[in-house]
Every structure is written in structure tokens, then in C-alpha cells.
């Protein structure tokens, strides 16, 4: 079913009209309520009254992640008193990013998440096992709100405790599973070890996201778990999960452009990318209240398709993430972000060591990923066994996150190349 048919299947003309009205109102709203945006708009020479059509979006300045960090915690908020929920993301470099929701923002989130779940094929009355983490991470609660909105029975298992997840699956027979794609494969493995045939699980639909994943991984998941594996896209700055979602045709992710207006730009020049070309996804939140963002640069590289989908939806479709404007690399079909390695290292003893990814490809062999980690005093031990255990732990956790085998090497401090004081995160030795 289509949750919000009037907008998801709207004809382009009336959609544009709606977007135009909303953009004009948005610019007026942030100009009146957020000092940071007022300054940015003034500096760009834009007066709220100038914005009459969605095409005028190009006149507006970009918002970058640094704007959020620099105005920590709530400088970019346009409303403070009506905020009913706050989420804080882990800050891997500098301040964390903070997002807030008013009651209407939560309604919006519930609505777009309900659209996502319906896109994936959920029907009211189905049971959802929600294995995204609940808490400051937006994944868990986002799915939860959407499930409640569309009338699913939601089991908030959150992430981890795999044996328990599988027991709950056996006892309550949820039709839908939501989690990160790598965790779904991890559960398939655990199921095998527990003597459960992963292909016989009750899950028929997977809503997988929160990390980049490839078509190859989709095939693996669908094969291992006998499910329809759909991709969900979102980022906490925009709303959390619920920005875009694949329908059952799995031919691009429907982006809900009536509320999250997408543009694809050349990340170098900031100019509009040619139709169909891969560029950086930029999103304007047309109706958010607590922290609306104008032309937010997601750093995700995608292409966009405005053709009507076979499912009947007219909402444009973005491709799976093709890359990042930052340091991302692709190893054996898997997208690897240095930040993923950083998170793993941070989760182990809370250390934040220097690291470097080295990718190499020997003749007629698979790509090899080596993670060099600088040993610091916090993780150093006089016992070789402990160092080896640590190396093994890092290796296993990185593998669980990336779903590819890696080699971990402990190196001495200051051996990883720095450029301008910042570690060089990636060295790609593969022959192009």
C-alpha cells in the first residue's frame, strides 16, 4: 500500500506548487527565528520575500555539518521552546551534532517512516522486529514511530543480544526485520550456530540501512535470510531514517521530496549536476520546525531519477550511495568509511588512536584491506598475549561492521603519515 498517496503519487505540477509554498514559508520562518540563518541569508543577499518558487532554492546558501558543530548545541535551532525530543550524534571530530524535534516534527517523522515501511511492503497488522539501536541514535526510535503510525505491532528489540533476537523471532514470528545490513548477516550466521536454518526465519521483509551497502551484499542477505532486502536512507541532521526508501521493485530509493527537497550538485563547484549524473545530495527540509536545514550538504554521492516508478509513486528516486565526498573507499564491493573504523576503535576501551587503511590488490587476487593502528599508552601492555587479544578484538569488530576480512597491524606511534597534523586515513595501492 502507499501510505500518503496524495503526495507520494502527486503530479509534478501540484508537487512543485506545494514545494514552492513550503520553501517560501521556510525561508521566512528561519529568517525570523534563527540568528545563524538570518546572518547566512543576509550575507547571501537573500530576503525572505525574494523566494517565490522552489527554483529559487539555488539562491540560498548551503548548510554544512560544520555549521551544526560550530553552533553547538542548539545555535541552528529555529525553535527552542516547542522541542519535545533531542538526539545527539557521536562526534568523531569535534562537537557532536544535535538535532531536536517539535511535536509536529515527530508527526512528520512518523509519517515519512510509515511511508518507508509501506514502501518496503509492510501492511497494517504486520509485526516489526526493530533491531536498530534505541537511544541517542535516531534509527531505533524513527522506525518505532513509523511502525506505530501505520499500525504495525513493533517489538523494540534494539541492537545486540543476537541469541535473544532469534528467540523472539521464533516466538513472535515478525514478518519485518529492521537493522543494519551487516547485522542481518551476523544474525544469519548466529542462527546457523544455534541450529536454526536462517532461510526458514519468519522475516519476509528487511528494512536495512544506517550504513552503506552494496548490491552484492543485498544478494548475500536475500540468499542467506530468504527475505526481500530493501534499503532505507536517512541522516539524523535531516530527520533520521525516513528520508528515502526503496519500494519492492528495488529500483532506487523514493525520496520524499514534498518535505525533503533534493538537489544533486557537483561537490567541487556547488553547481547543479547534469540530470542522471552522480553528485552530492543536498537536502532542504521544507516543513521541519525545531531545526530546519537549508540546502544541507549530505556528503553522499548519488544520482537521481525523476521518472514515475512502476509502483505508482511519482516521488523521485535516488540511487544507492555511490560514494562520499570524504574519504570513502570501496573494497570487494563494500563501501568502507574511515569513520566506521574510527567508531570501532572508539568503542574498544574508549581509545581514539591514529589509524590508517591500506588497500592493496595482488595480481588476480581479491582486494586486501589492512588496518594499521598506532599503539598508545592506554592500549599498550607488557604482555604480548593482551596485545594479540586486542588486535584480534579490533579485527573481529571491524569485520562485523564491514562484513569483509581485514588484517590489523599494530604499529608504533607517529609512524602513520600525517598531513597538516591530520592522519592520512586511506592509502590505496591498487592498480587503477
Amino acid at each position: 500500500m502507499i501510505w500518503n498517496e496524495s503526495v507520494e503519487c502527486a503530479d509534478p505540477k501540484s508537487l512543485k506548487q506545494l514545494q514552492s509554498q513550503r520553501l517560501a514559508k521556510l525561508v521566512e520562518y528561519v529568517h525570523a527565528n534563527c540568528a545563524v540563518y538570518r546572518q547566512m541569508l543576509d550575507a547571501a543577499g537573500v530576503h525572505p520575500g525574494d523566494i517565490k518558487s522552489i527554483d529559487d532554492v539555488k539562491r540560498l546558501p548551503f548548510t554544512e555539518k560544520t555549521h551544526m558543530r560550530d553552533n553547538y548545541p542548539t545555535g541552528l535551532f529555529s525553535s527552542q521552546k516547542d522541542v519535545v525530543e533531542i538526539h545527539v550524534s557521536s562526534g568523531t571530530t569535534g562537537n557532536p551534532t544535535v538535532v531536536g524535534y517539535t511535536r509536529d516534527d515527530i508527526k512528520l517523522w512518523s509519517d515519512v517512516m510509515a511511508r518507508c515501511l509501506c514502501c518496503a511492503g509492510a501492511e497494517p497488522g504486520d509485526t516489526l522486529q526493530n533491531a536498530y539501536g534505541y537511544g541517542l541514535f535516531t534509527g531505533g526510535l524513527g522506525l518505532h514511530y513509523g511502525a506505530l503510525e501505520m499500525g504495525l505491532k513493533v517489538i523494540p528489540t534494539s541492537s545486540g543480544q543476537t541469541a535473544r533476537q532469534l528467540k523472539i523471532m521464533q516466538d513472535f514470528k515478525p514478518r519485518i526485520l529492521s537493522c543494519t545490513p551487516s547485522y542481518s548477516l551476523f544474525m544469519a550466521e548466529e542462527a546457523k550456530e544455534m541450529g536454526i536454518d536462517p532461510r526458514s526465519t519468519s522475516w519476509e521483509i528487511g528494512v536495512f540501512g544506517a550504513e552503506p551497502w552494496s548490491e552484492q551484499m543485498r544478494r548475500e542477505i536475500e540468499e542467506a535470510l530468504n527475505v526481500l532486502a530493501t534499503d532505507i536512507y536517512g541522516l539524523s541532521e535531516i530527520i533520521g531514517p525516513g528520508v528515502a526508501q526503496e519500494c519492492t521493485y528495488k529500483d532506487g530509493l523514493h525520496i520524499f521530496s514534498d518535505v525533503f527537497f533534493p538537489e544533486i550538485i557537483d561537490p567541487q563547484t556547488g553547481d547543479e549536476a547534469k540530470p542522471g549524473q552522480v553528485g552530492e545530495l543536498v537536502i532542504t527540509t521544507l516543513t521541519k520546525q525545531a531545526i530546519p536545514l537549508i540546502r544541507y550538504r549530505t556528503r553522499d554521492l548519488v544520482s537521481i531519477n525523476y521518472e514515475k516508478c512502476r509502483c505508482g509513486r511519482t516521488s523521485p528516486r535516488i540511487s544507492k550511495i555511490r560514494g562520499r565526498t570524504d574519504d570513502m573507499i570501496i573494497v570487494r564491493g563494500i563501501n568502507v568509511f574511515p569513520s566506521q573504523i574510527e567508531h570501532v576503535l572508539l568503542s574498544i576501551d574508549g581509545t581514539h588512536p591514529y589509524y590508517q587503511l591500506v588497500v592493496d590488490r595482488k595480481a588476480r587476487q581479491l582486494d586486501e584491506l589492512e588496518v594499521m593502528v598506532e599503539v598508545d599508552e592506554k592500549i599498550f601492555s607488557d604482555e604480548v598475549k593482551k596485545l594479540n587479544d586486542l588486535r584480534e578484538k579490533i579485527r573481529k569488530e571491524i569485520q562485523a561492521v564491514l562484513s569483509i576480512s581485514v588484517k590489523v597491524t599494530l604499529v608504533e606511534p607517529k609512524t602513520i603519515e600525517r598531513s597538516m597534523g591530520k592522519a592520512v586515513r586511506v592509502i590505496d595501492k591498487r592498480q587503477k
Partner: protein
Amino acid sequence: MKITQISIFLENRKGRLYEVCSLLGKGGINIRALTIAETESFGVLRIVVDKPDEAVKLLKANSFVANITDVVAVEVSDKPGGLANVLKVLSENDVNVEYMYGFLEKAGDNAILVFRFEDTAHAQKILAANKINVVTSQNIKGL
């Protein structure tokens, strides 16, 4: 009586051991005992020196990862079965040895062995109760 051991992380690279020893030598620090535990890609150098505080300061100032561990230097009679006698006492009293190595110097007629115990306090009690001599840090400076 505990003594201080310094452990240093070393990659298996040519000249790294030399660099540590040369640094300590220039700093006027004398190595009294030494061992290396190695793996395929890295090693841990463990040393006992006459001036441990200065040594650690010097190493850290030169970007080595170094930490200190309490170890016990035990006097062992330098004759057949000498070490076995000590180990027998330890084993009978459930004292676990993580690793051990020899000192360069002797204390009179006795050899000195450095022990890293799982539970140093417990090990010290057992050694004292069985009248096995241990070397103090003051003694090490004099060796």
C-alpha cells in the same frame, strides 16, 4: 620487594632495538636485565634499568610507547636444581608466572631472575614465607 620493569612497544623493523639501547645509553641509563617477546609484526622489549623514572621520561619524550610494570627479582641458587626449587614453592602455592627472564649480574653466588606474576602481592607473600630472597630496587642500582 617489587622492582620496576619498563616495557616498550617495538615494530619488527631494522634498527629499532638499537635505537632504544642507544637512546638509553646516551641518557646514562644502564640496562640490568632484558628480554624481548616477539610476534610476527611487533615485539615487546622488557628491561630493568638502574634509573627507571628517568628512562621512562626519556623514552616517552622520544615517542616510544612505554609503560611500567611491577616485577619481582628473585635470587636463585646458581647450581643444578636451583630454579626448580623456587618454582616448586611457587607452584605448590598456586602462584602463576606470566613470564620470566634472567638478570645480567649475579647477587653474590646467586643468579637473579625477573618474575612477572599474575598476582604480585600474593607471590611476594609466598616468597617471604619461604625465605626466598628478593632483590630491592636499591640493590639494583648497586649491581
